[in-house]
Amino acid sequence: MTALASSAPAERRRFAVDLSLPVLLLFATVLCLLIALPLSWLLIYAFSDKNGAITLENFHRLLSDAAYLDPLLVTFALASLSALIACVVAAPMAWLVARTDMPLRRTVRLLVTASFVTPPFLGAIAWELLAAPNSGLLNQLYRELAGLPEDAYLLNIYSFAGLVFVVSCYTFPYVFVLVANALDRTPGDLEDASAILGAKTWHTAWRVTLPLALPAMLAGALVAFLQAMTLFGSPAILAMPAGFHTMTTKIWSLFQFPPRPELAAAASLPLLILTVILLRAENNVLGRRSYAVVGARNSEPRVIRLGVWRWVMLACALAVLTCPVFLPYFALLNASFSRVASHLVWFDNFTLQNIRFVFHELSATQLALRNTFVLGSLAATIGTILALVIAYVTARQAVVGHRLLGFLATAPVAIPGIVLGVGLFFSYARPPFLLYGTLWILLIAFLTLSLPAAYQQLQSAFRAVHPELEDASRILGATRLRTLWKITTPLLRNNVIATWCFIFVAVIRELSAAIMLFTSETKVLSVLIYDLNESGDLAAIAVLGLLMLVITFCIVALANSLRFGGRRLPRAG
């Protein structure tokens, strides 16, 4: 027994210090390199002129020239409107699925998830197929029904209204998910308490349920605003043909010929600052919400009976889902199998030619698919390991300074993709790090962008593993490393796989950073789709878009089945 403890404790202790300090330093350095380097270059460029002298001229241009001021206003209007629409549409829908006896509630939730994982730029392209003034399927139908001439149209998706509509289609799920989750977690007791005091059903819904869900809705609105503000794909596809810009497309155009990188850097800063402010606001709103989840969660909420209205409500919900899911998916399917993308598929023009073309004739497909898979798997693997170690260090407070690591790992959440793209371009298109034109720069971008969410997922997973489970292993004679391997890792296995899937999916659909960093050799699937749109090859896009959706759905389904299929932890604790 004494043999177990014979070696000097002092030696052991020195070893522990030696190990933890380098770990901290290594990870802190990596994270600083990932985040601080591009942001520093962004600042340097924003405050210097073409010759490198310090100046405020860039900001002056930005605020005085209508070419830059207008996009700022358009972006603000776009983000506000789509956040508002998202709330008006999503909050009642969330209430319907969480608290009423509307039929097909699970299906509605699934369909919202589908619109959640649909890349917004793909939605925008699908709506081009549906509502372009001349070739749009809906406009053709309208002309057919009303007997109008060739140049008449009902809808024009290439307009500010069209842009707001399409962006709202893919931001409303943020509000929906947050509100539905909040309602799911609100114990039914709170409503029962109101009912027992004599409140009518609708009074309870108005005075108790709604206020409880309000913070979640506000937070959702802020996230929707943020998404709409930083989106690149949809405005690039819909606004630029209509002749106007948002901030993101403006930043991108400043890199086209003739390049104006200083102005692009200066234009990126407002986006960055606004994002930081909005995220703080969201934190505050959600931070105060904690009272909603306190208390017994086991009481089932009472279902509100809608009577005949439940069918009406279902019809409304499905009508809403027509816009982000049914119609766009139909348009993509139709275009995939039609000889002409803008014609309805029928027996006489059904074809598999488009699929053959994409996989056999279009040389870029193979390359883009390979790049996407390589980048997706690499970013997912490295990102998961990085997030796992940082989450362990912060959740178990294993080394001094763990807070700093946690902060660095969450910081990229405040960097919009296009801003990061600009920053990375500045950092790695010059010595000493010449990475522009390689896959590495894209890997860095994807890693940085997906790290915060991965870290937060794994950190909450670590929190759910009671530290005593690890203590029990150590007191029985296992070292810290052995404990990690034998106890912690098996317990977190499902979370680790889910995180991997999550990063992979995020990488496949990423466009706004990739668009700043790709070259012809490093095209990825999302960039390829965007490029094909520029050249008007809608059929090929439809095929690739469907492929992207299928891959995404498979991985999301895998991750979900793991998350809910895991073994239960013991009740005690």
Binding site: A8, A472, G477, R480
Partner: protein, 353 residues
């Protein structure tokens, strides 16, 4: 031979001493209870002994070797201890048998020996039929026994228990108290047991260390702690004594409510304010004035409750002190009536500690 020895042990978190200058000697094979309210530092003390926490000051010795000091701390895995956690900490991804033999595998025992030991411990903890189950499929009491089996099978030098019964329901808890003591009598490991439940401590411990605000208030056998509390805190915490405020008259007497009161315990300093403890069931109550006047105080009944086996009264003396008195169920007294309390001198303990 002292098996575990804490010397002036202190642990501070951000300047606040959670464990404050604690010294304690635990003899080989004894079961010591750290007893105190939540937040008194008893769990931190236990985690210091286990090596999960490093001391700010002081040291811990096990046998003749130093295991913890501010300069060097032996990690938990090399202390040859076992611990039972409040949450049981059973690994949900392993079966009962896998959980139990985990420590043996780490000790690289051969399969035959592991199998034999497993069988023996499963039998003595009545778990044989549950060996292939997962922890999530067990009741609270069964989980508790698995935790015990897992800790005992490695034959530790020292066994640590952190509120091991607090997650069980009342009946099971009572049963497991005796089980813990029975297992201790069988294996005689040096054991440190943390609890906030005084009857748990009384049933199981050889020695009780009452802790309050990071310090040890008193160490003694259950009888000593109960019969001779040295401080007001211990008197109140163990057996919920009445503590009355007296003024010292001479070495044996204090004045209380205008009456001289003879007390046992430490000598009293005249003129000093002296707290005196007396247990509710040691007070004799009568509706008529007794013939003997020594240590008799008059009081008024404030309220009473019938509790089946006994009655519980709250009375108030002339100086406004409220006392709890427990009487036989036959003693019926009206609220508001005047009564006489006799406080037996040998039961009045002047608290000087």
């Amino acid at each position: 031979m002292a098996s575990v020895e804490l010397q002036r042990l202190t642990k501070r978190y951000g300047g606040v001493a959670v464990v404050d200058n604690v010294s304690l000697v635990i003899e080989h094979g004894h079961l010591v209870c750290l007893l105190g309210p939540s937040g008194c530092g008893k769990t931190t003390t236990l985690r210091l002994i286990a090596g999960f926490v490093e001391p700010s000051e002081g040291e811990i010795r096990v046998g003749d070797r130093l295991v913890s000091s501010p300069a060097q701390t032996l990690p938990p895995e090399r202390r040859n201890m076992s611990m039972i956690f409040q949450s049981y900490a059973l690994w949900p991804h392993m079966t009962v048998a896998e959980n139990i033999i985990y420590g043996l595998k780490l000790r690289k025992l051969d399969r035959a020996t592991i199998g034999k030991k497993l069988e023996a411990i499963l039998a003595s903890t009545r778990l044989t039929s549950l060996a292939e189950r997962y922890p999530g499929e067990l009741s609270g009491g069964q989980q508790q026994r698995v935790a015990l089996a897992r800790a005992l099978i490695v034959e530790p030098e020292t066994l640590l228990l952190d509120e091991p019964l607090s997650n069980l329901d009342a009946n099971l808890r009572e049963e497991m108290r005796f089980e813990v003591r029975r297992l201790h009598d069988t294996y005689r490991y040096t054991t440190v047991y943390v609890t906030h439940d005084q009857s748990e401590a009384m049933t199981t411990a050889d020695l009780i260390a009452v802790m309050n605000a990071g310090r040890i208030e008193q160490v003694g056998s259950p009888e000593e702690i109960y019969n001779h509390p040295r401080s007001e805190f211990v008197a109140r915490f163990i057996g919920s004594s009445n503590v009355i405020k007296g003024i010292g008259l001479d070495a044996e007497h204090v004045e209380f409510s205008g009456v001289p009161l003879r007390c046992a315990g430490e000598p009293i300093r005249p003129g000093a304010s002296v707290p005196v403890s007396i247990r509710p069931h040691d007070i004799a109550i009568s509706a008529t004035e007794p013939a003997v006047h020594e240590n008799v105080v008059s009081a008024i009944v404030m309220r009473g409750a019938f509790l089946g086996g006994h009655r519980d009264y709250m009375v108030e003396t002339k100086d406004g002190t409220q006392l709890r008195v427990v009487t036989s169920a036959a003693e019926r007294l009206a609220e508001g009536s005047t009564v006489w309390l006799r406080l037996p001198p040998q039961r009045c303990r002047a608290l000087t500690g």
